[in-house]
Symmetry: C2
Subunit: 260 residues, 2 copies
């Protein structure tokens, strides 16, 4: 099977102009077929402030009301997505930027929850493997914004880590997929503030232990859940690490490797 590298880039990198520039150069240098999934960063929050739209957060998650959906659609699928694509083009990487509505790439449904109304938040139902494959065959790198749709005309704000996992799973029947979660830290750390405490490998038993002993900081848990969901569904390699080390991450020479 052909190799496919899927990279998720975190919001803190997007907020840092120089780091983003360096990352885009590194991503352009990855040989073979590739997909980039980006989060949102602080731009949406700043725009909401400028526009006087109040942001509600529950358990660290943004509640996406109608005005917030409008803002994230503009910022994620418009500003961030198109600027990343233009920068990739400038680096000689022919990229195409998509939301989940484009080509029905990622279908989702509005989340329902017993007690919390998350608003216009989507949980992924299906990745359009045929479309993604066809675009990759055109030698295009695909850049996904974390916006999906419900096939009834509704756009939905969707977690970028989850999108990365779902695309990696979906494509693993057709490609030998490596999934890289890149962000501001060197990997999964025993001490969240010390990059030298990166854990090289995590298997399910060790993950249970780390959770039980409370050694992993809370924000890392959904990322690790996504990482294990991917490795348990046919994705060949899952690595979590520092965006600046992307070339090393793609070679498995840095970051935390997730073991099935």
């Amino acid at each position: 099977m052909d190799k496919l590298t899927i990279v998720k880039i975190g919001g803190n990198i997007i907020d840092d102009e120089q780091k983003l520039k360096d990352f885009i150069k590194s991503f352009s240098g990855i040989s073979g077929k590739k997909i980039l999934i980006h989060g949102g960063g602080k731009l949406a929050t700043r725009l909401a402030e400028t526009m006087g739209v109040e942001q509600q957060m529950v358990d660290g998650r943004r509640i996406t009301d109608a005005e917030t959906l409008k803002i994230v659609t503009m910022v994620y699928a418009g500003y961030i997505n198109k600027n990343i694509v233009a920068a990739l083009q400038a680096n000689g990487c022919n990229a195409i930027g998509l939301s989940g509505a484009d080509g029905n790439a990622i279908a989702a449904h509005k989340r329902t929850h017993a007690s919390i109304d998350y608003g216009f938040v989507g949980d992924v139902d299906a990745v359009n493997v045929t479309l993604v494959h066809a675009l990759l065959q055109q030698e295009l790198a695909i850049v996904f914004a974390p916006i999906t749709h419900d096939n009834n005309g509704l756009l939905l704000n969707t977690n970028a880590d989850t999108i990365a996992q779902e695309i990696a799973k979906g494509m693993s029947g057709t490609y030998d997929v490596s999934l890289i979660y890149s962000f501001e830290k060197a990997g999964v750390l025993l001490d969240a503030n010390d990059d030298s405490t990166v854990i090289n490998e995590i298997n399910p038993a060790y993950y249970s232990e780390l959770k039980t002993t409370g050694k992993i900081f809370a924000g890392m848990l959904p990322k690790l859940d996504n990482a294990f969901a991917a490795i348990n569904s046919g994705v060949k390699k899952v690595i979590i690490g520092k965006a600046e080390q992307l070339p090393l991450l793609t070679e498995g020479k840095a970051g935390t490797t997730i073991i099935a």
Copy 2:
């Protein structure tokens, strides 16, 4: 050659929720390969007001400074483009929304002018016929936002009428292209306020006469220049007419037909 219908939709239609809804339904019903190019409407202006970004206009054209470029990228390539795509999907039309940066679809250069600095405004250099053809072959309807790029990482605000003309010209070597400029009026009118004065056909001699006698209102001239540029470069049919009459326009039974 295969038929390809290219429709430009004007800003006044985008600003009217019901008209846009009806238009999207009509566009979804067009058989065969199709491309939609949308303008911006008043959303960008309203967002600029909310954000306190002052809009400069010269000769009816927006001067695109850095903040305005950010706004139009968000509104055109993000909010409008993705909502149109999602609405097309809801109508059973598998659409993909692109800016000119995506897949290097439309390369442009920053406009230079002896006396006016238009800012980040792009004049089109090339349409990527291979990419557009490949996407159409995937049975995708393509939805273009009026944003291009310069291959050096710069996004550029570009006139949607011109984009429609350039794409129509570019694709006319591969397809039997019909180009439809749809907007709020019934066609080219002898009296701008009276839809019953629509001119059925305009050839170059009549166009000269209309210009000389000052019978056509100023805003229509660039649209007609684009229309003639298209018909003189291999585009089979060029029609200007009312968005609500799209099915009739595609059959050549309404609007103004441009004759080479």
